[in-house]
């Protein structure tokens, strides 16, 4: 019986944050610490002819200046790409460029000083002789034959081409189609902007030859692996990577970044602790960015509106280099979701990963799946329009029925479980869908622009079966580890290889273990983010932590319970099969016996005193398990947004928002709802305001929060969420990912609402973001 799982508990991690005691990297200090600042290219593409640091070096308080060549001579390696699709060409990428900068913000020199203000002053004094080069911009334009080439070894600025699905089936579907709809659309560049800027601190122990690196990462173990094996060359057993409290990631803190190499390299070179903290401006020009897909999509239907085929061609801008997981996002995390919630027999997706003089693009909340949902739910909306059907009725007509799970799509994935009609039932109920349409009629009669947008989205979360990931290009496995350590006093330390940076694992994982071990929540401490304490782990992204990390902990807890059962049985002179963990007393008891049995503490202590253990039982009480999932989990959702548009100004107002999600079993509803609402806000941000804009010369025009429109509190109505729960059969908890569904659905739901509002003017598509200016132009062009 679950006493903890399924209930809303306040988060145990909160008191430290509420009192300003969060252990963010930027808050940490080491004695004698030096400060690192980085000179960055102001040009999007330029040869570096020379660097004169003499004036900087004369400044009082400057410790050293290093160039890219200094680092190369000092043994640093290139940043590798961890996901290599067939025939993928990987560009050279040095942490500090030795000879050529390829995007605004590329690191060209490193300053070390006693004080951060002096380090900034010294940056101003470094003279870099740049020879600017022509730039190549635009996901698709960069592949044209006249385009400036970014890397000599990568012709046509095309790093890879990838395709998936049933090409013949797709062609047949279009040949036989009664109706075809088509859209050209852009999924614009986004800038993640976790509120904590990235930071890195390092300390070198010269005697022990040991390095400790503190970094704002979502996955410290893979960072240690990359630092050790590729970029810094310090043996893994002499290298400790700690990601303490991290202030949001959203994907942008998954990747291995140059500063994670530079800072420890400096700390060893000067034999002093060193720290670098990004300014927000640096975050804008160095954190991996998101989306930036240019797409043509066509959908085939029969005479009744049944979808029979889908053909997608996309150019995905990967920026100037391939960031750690960049090729994964448009390929195995995007094309694989083109079936959405629907039965579509003929799907064929083609993808090109291209290079431009921009900041690298990689996973950003949703990562490939929002791009898939966006193009699919936009074209489905257009299909409904074409058929003259209500958008929900059209979707219902095409949904995968609840009795067909597991469902094999033509694009590799097998969906685990779902009840998609049930999603829309609940959505219609909580939103009062019929009334929304009546309200819209009334508003339209008054001459108002009023739109109701619908979406139904799928996500693949919980990456991933390691063998599948390997076959798709991954350089790593995607299992997770979990250790349950019961101390002699009965207190528990749980070590997890996944990482929390806002998700609340210290609470949810403790809930899981409290149920598994039948002990109070407060007796469990969850530890993560430290390679010196946690055996190994793959970190957090792809909404994997509960499904994969939680499952690893369940597995180790089960082993602990089995061992405790044996010890208790032995000590109480009974058979293990008669021993049980009693919910009521918290004791470990024998069936039918009248005595109180043994307390959890007594059994734990017995395991450590080892005075009287069964012959085949070792002393101690600690288990580590590795969980490699058998499949992804497939969260799904149905959302509605209502928008009004001011005809005079083009301003869009989000009036109402409703979301129903199936994230499988829920461990902590308070936390899950928080994830869904926060996710929706991020998705809405893309639809309405956010856009990372570059000039034709490669300058980042939205380089600060003055220019890049972050979602603000006053722009949102109350977001109403609800859930249905179809447990996932692929993990012992029955959970699916909850961290990204809101973002995946939020964008296209609002996009469909805006197009619906403008439909009376004959509009069938507008590009995001729906700024007042763009909407005003659209209205003018259609009246």
């Amino acid at each position: 019986m679950a006493k903890f799982v399924g209930k809303s508990f306040k988060r145990v991690e909160d008191p430290r944050f509420l009192q300003g005691q969060g252990k963010y990297v930027s808050n940490l200090q080491r004695p004698g610490m030096a400060y690192v600042a980085i000179a960055r290219s102001p040009h999007a593409h330029a040869d570096i002819k020379g660097i004169d640091a003499s004036a900087a070096l004369e400044l009082d308080g400057v410790v050293a200046v290093f160039t890219g060549q200094d680092l190369i001579d000092g043994g640093v390696g290139q940043l590798p790409c961890g996901w290599v699709v067939p025939d993928c060409k990987i560009p050279e990428r040095w942490p500090v460029v030795p000879d050529r900068a390829r995007h605004v913000g590329d690191a060209v020199a490193v300053v070390v000083a006693d004080n951060p203000y002096v380090a900034e002053d010294a940056l101003e004094l470094i003279e870099v002789d740049y020879e600017p080069l022509p730039v190549s911009m635009g996901a698709r334009a960069t592949t044209e034959y006249r385009a400036q080439q970014l890397h000599a070894e990568i012709p046509n600025n095309t790093a890879y081409s990838w395709a998936l699905g049933d090409e013949d089936g797709m062609r047949r579907a279009f040949a036989e189609a009664a109706h075809v709809v088509e859209l050209d659309l852009i999924n614009q560049r986004l800038i993640p902007n976790a509120m904590e800027p990235r930071a890195c601190m390092a300390e070198w122990d010269d005697t022990m030859e040991e390095m400790t690196v503190w970094t704002t990462s979502q996955n410290p173990h893979p960072i240690r692996l990359l630092l050790s094996g590729f970029t810094l060359g310090i043996p893994e057993n002499k290298l400790r990577v700690i990601s303490p409290d991290v202030g949001g990631g959203f994907g942008s803190k998954i990747f291995h970044y140059p500063e994670e190499i530079i800072v420890p390299w400096v700390a060893r070179a000067i034999n002093r602790p060193a720290k670098w903290v990004a300014t927000r401006s640096e975050s804008f020009m160095t954190d991996s960015q998101g989306r930036d897909h240019v797409t043509n999509v066509r959908m085939a239907m029969d005479a009744t509106g049944t979808i029979t085929g889908l053909h997608v061609q996309t150019w995905a801008d990967q920026g100037a280099y391939l960031s750690t997981f960049a090729p994964l996002i448009p390929t195995a995390l995007s094309i694989t979701l083109f079936s959405g919630l629907y039965k579509i027999p003929g799907i064929w997706g083609e993808m090109k990963g291209t290079l431009t003089n921009t900041v690298p693009v990689d996973a950003y909340r949703g990562a490939g799946r929002p791009e898939a949902s966006y193009l699919l739910e936009r074209i489905v909306e257009k299909g409904a329009q074409k058929m003259g059907m209500d958008p929900i009725a059209f979707r219902r007509h095409n949904l995968i029925p609840a009795d067909e799970f597991p469902y094999q799509t033509p694009v590799a994935f097998q969906y685990d479980s779902g009840n998609y009609q049930g999603l829309f039932d609940k959505l219609e109920e909580i939103s009062g869908y019929g009334d929304l349409r009546e309200e819209q009629k009334a508003k339209r009669a008054e001459g108002k622009l009023w739109g109701v947008g619908v979406s139904g989205c799928i996500e693949a979360s919980g990456p991933a079966p390691s063998a599948v990931a390997g076959s798709l290009g991954s350089a790593v496995g995607f299992w997770e580890s979990g250790t349950v350590r019961v101390h002699p006093t009965g207190k528990v330390t749980a070590l997890t290889g996944s990482h929390a940076h806002g998700q609340g694992h210290e609470t949810t994982f403790a809930q899981i273990l409290a149920d598994e071990l039948n002990i109070p929540l407060e007796d469990i401490e969850v530890v993560h983010g430290d390679t010196g304490r946690v055996p190994f782990g793959m970190g957090t992204y792809g909404s994997r932590s509960a499904a994969v990390g939680g499952s690893a902990l369940v597995r180790s807890a089960t082993r602990v319970r089995e061992k405790m059962t044996k010890i208790a049985a032995h000590q109480m002179e009974s058979r293990p099969e008669d021993v049980y963990f009693d919910d009521e007393t918290g004791n470990i008891r024998v069936q039918g016996a009248t005595d109180e049995g043994m307390s959890f503490f007594e059994v734990a202590l017995a395991a450590y005193t080892a005075h009287d253990l069964p012959p085949d039982i070792e002393p101690g009480l600690e288990e580590t398990a590795f969980f490699d999932p058998s499949n992804f989990t497939f969260p799904n959702s149905a959302h509605i947004a209502v928008v009004s548009i001011d005809r005079e100004t083009g301003e869009v107002t989000l009036e109402k928002y409703f979301g129903v999600d199936d994230v499988g079993n829920v461990i902590n509803p308070l936390i899950v709802d928080g994830q869904l609402v926060g996710g929706v806000a991020q998705g809405v941000g893309q639809a309405l305001w956010e856009h990372g804009i570059y000039g034709e010369d490669g300058q980042l025009l939205t380089g600060s929060m003055m220019d890049y429109a972050m979602p603000r509190a006053d722009r949102f109505p109350q977001i109403e969420t609800d859930r249905i729960e179809t447990p996932s059969p692929t993990n012992p908890l029955g959970v699916k990912g909850a961290g990204e569904m809101g973002t995946i659905a939020g964008t296209v739901t609002v996009a469909n609402a805006v197009v619906d509002a403008l439909a009376p003017l004959g509009v069938d598509h507008v590009e995001m973001p729906f700024t007042a200016e763009r909407i005003w132009q659209t209205i003018q062009a259609h009246s």
Partner: protein, 156 residues
């Protein structure tokens, strides 16, 4: 070339010598006074992560020079709870799940305290409007608004 300043920080009188005139208040608080609860989230005065109270007003401490704080009363997030007893605003953020990564939280709480002060029946709209200068990337603001409403009532 530095100047001397004195200020009251979380109720404690402090004098500092040799303060660079260009030093930002937030850097004084974080680096010189070691109170790292006040966060820095931007460099354009947009995010509000650095919000503290100065002479009874919520200010963005990245937008104030340390020397401007000479002679003033400054309260940071560390000065809120007394003996581990959370204030109504902190408690409400906890109860209503008003934080995820926690990075915006100190600034939100400091801004929120001043926002609801003397306004127990503050509306959602007033709170949302009042929070225009504080950015949260995680929560979508909904539970922050809820927490502030609860705290407004509790403080009344």
């Amino acid at each position: 070339m530095g100047v001397s300043i004195s200020l009251n920080i979380n109720g404690e009188a402090r004098s500092l010598d040799n303060v660079e005139p260009r030093l930002l208040l937030v850097d004084l608080i974080r680096e010189e006074l070691g109170l790292t609860g006040t966060n820095i989230g931007c460099d354009t005065s947009q995010c509000g992560a650095c919000t503290v109270h100065m002479d009874g007003l919520a200010v963005k401490s990245c937008t104030v020079l340390a020397v401007q704080a000479d002679g003033s009363d400054v309260v940071t997030i560390e000065g809120m709870a007394e003996d581990g007893q959370l204030t109504a605003m902190q408690q409400a953020f906890w109860d209503e799940h008003g934080l995820q990564c926690g990075f915006c939280t100190p600034g939100m709480i400091m801004a929120g305290v001043k926002l609801v002060e003397g306004n127990p029946d503050i509306s959602d709209e007033e709170i949302r409007h009042g929070l225009e200068g504080n950015i949260c990337r995680c929560t979508g603001y909904q539970n922050i608004v809820k927490a502030m409403k609860v705290a407004a009532q509790a403080a009344a």
